[in-house]
């Protein structure tokens, strides 16, 4: 395990704890954006709360559906406080959907709301990096470098450290750009572009990449797609702003 993680009895819970801290910090950062973007901070915070609750419940149900037999035998395990028995993708998707529906019904503007989310997402990405650092997930490719770390039985790229550093830079840029966004949607799309670019570059140093087409890292293909989609989005938003100023 990572030498920096010799923190005694907390070692195991640390990744989850960091994620939890990330969620909390992210949502408080998001709520702080409300006044500047002229959004109701009560509605915004309800939206986040709803998204989190629906996300958490769906993540557990999604996980239980995968192991239906086990949960039919022990239905009470549905309530277990175990963060490892969650299905993250299902949870994230339903949480976002619920938040989106709520936002539409409350008449929140789409781009303004997404802009409010951007700094929070950047904060959460940073927390995710620290959580990877603690758990040893998202580990690097074997490498013989002066700064390589010993992990999972090999000297490897400290990919989690790269991840934290780059997420810190992205957060800095987003916080700086927050006050000078030229059009609604700029901040969110900007975050999407930076996050995708980070993943695209860092994936090259990972030792756990899923490989497709014989040699290509899947995450890089997806990131490049998202990166281009983000840039296209910026173009479209800029064009719309030029056509309908104000």
């Amino acid at each position: 395990m990572l030498p920096v993680l010799q923190v005694g009895p907390l070692a195991i819970q640390l990744p989850g704890l960091l994620l939890l801290a990330g969620v909390w910090l992210a949502s408080s950062v998001i709520e702080k954006q409300a006044p500047r973007l002229k959004l109701s901070s009560a509605i915004l915070s309800n939206m986040i709360f709803l998204g989190l609750v629906v996300g958490l419940v769906s993540a557990r149900i999604g996980y239980a559906l995968r192991y239906l037999n086990v949960y039919l035998e022990n239905p009470l395990s549905l309530l277990a406080l175990n963060p490892t028995t969650l299905a993250p993708a299902e949870g994230a998707l339903s949480g976002m959907l619920a938040a989106l529906i709520y936002a539409r019904r409350k008449g929140l503007p789409l781009w303004g709301t997404l802009d409010a989310l951007a700094p929070g997402l950047a904060v959460f990405s940073l927390a995710l990096g620290f959580s990877h650092l603690a758990s040893g997930d998202a580990f690097g490719a074997p490498a013989d470098l002066p700064w390589a770390i010993e992990l999972w039985g090999a000297r490897r790229h400290p990919s989690q450290v790269y991840e934290v550093l780059l997420a810190g830079v992205v957060l800095g840029v987003i916080l700086e750009a927050r006050l000078r966004a030229p059009f609604p949607g700029f901040l969110f799309l900007g975050w999407m572009v930076l996050a995708a670019a980070s993943r695209l570059s860092l994936e090259a140093f990972r030792g756990d990449s899923v490989i497709v087409l014989g040699a290509v890292r899947l995450a890089q293909l997806l990131s490049l797609g998202l990166l281009l989609a983000g840039l296209l989005g910026l173009h479209l938003r800029a064009r719309q702003t030029v056509r309908h100023p104000g």
């Binding site: 005694g8 009895p9 030792g207 990449s209 281009l228």
Partner: protein, 192 residues
């Protein structure tokens, strides 16, 4: 300066050259960082995994003494990580005991590794005594073994064959006696 930047990003036409350059650089980077599929673990933690050597460890035992996994080479070993406050862990213990009694003559060892760093040694001892469990109970006091074995959920059980290779991993429980029995048959296959 600020208004210059703002002007610049607000011009729709500016984004096309950026997209072109991004696409070219992105594809080049993907090309540079391409590796054969065998070079990565395809999303998995390298160990503990089925087909890989079980990470070795030495731990103190409940009631004194210590045990080293590699010294049990030649026996089939069931490594079960548990805690006394975990209901499914408690529920599967009698079944493990039954299988152990039936198969210990054929070279089965059970290491019920207590995750002591998140449990109390006294509760663990009381539970073992209450159920009259007779297999070894190593104490993972600082969480080292739980980290080595990537503990994600309690209980987690690793079935290790006579060569020290992990043959089956069961995350979560409780396991039925049949589940344990079939896995044990698999690791005891070759006669020691």
């Amino acid at each position: 300066m600020q208004s210059l930047v703002d002007d610049w990003v607000a011009r729709p036409g500016r984004w096309f050259p950026i997209m072109g350059v991004t696409l070219a650089l992105g594809l080049a980077w993907i090309w540079v960082s391409a590796v054969p599929a065998e070079a990565t673990t395809g999303g998995q933690i390298p160990s503990p995994r089925e087909g890989f050597l079980a990470p070795d460890f030495t731990l103190e035992l409940l009631g004194g003494g210590e045990v080293t996994l590699s010294e049990l080479r030649g026996k089939g070993v069931v490594i079960n990580l548990w805690a006394s406050w975990c209901p499914p862990c408690r529920a599967e213990m009698p079944a493990i005991q039954q299988v152990y009694e039936k198969a210990k003559g054929r070279g089965l060892a059970v290491l019920a590794v207590n995750t002591t760093f998140q449990d109390s040694e006294r509760d663990a001892a009381a539970f073992i005594q209450e159920l009259g469990l007779t297999f070894l109970v190593p104490l993972d006091r600082d969480g080292t073994v739980s980290r080595q074995y990537q503990l994600r959920a309690l209980p987690s059980t690793f079935f290790v064959d006579r060569e020290g290779v992990i043959r089956k991993v069961i995350i979560g429980g409780p396991m039925s006696e049949a589940t344990i029995q079939t896995a044990v048959e698999e690791i005891l296959e070759q006669d020691g």
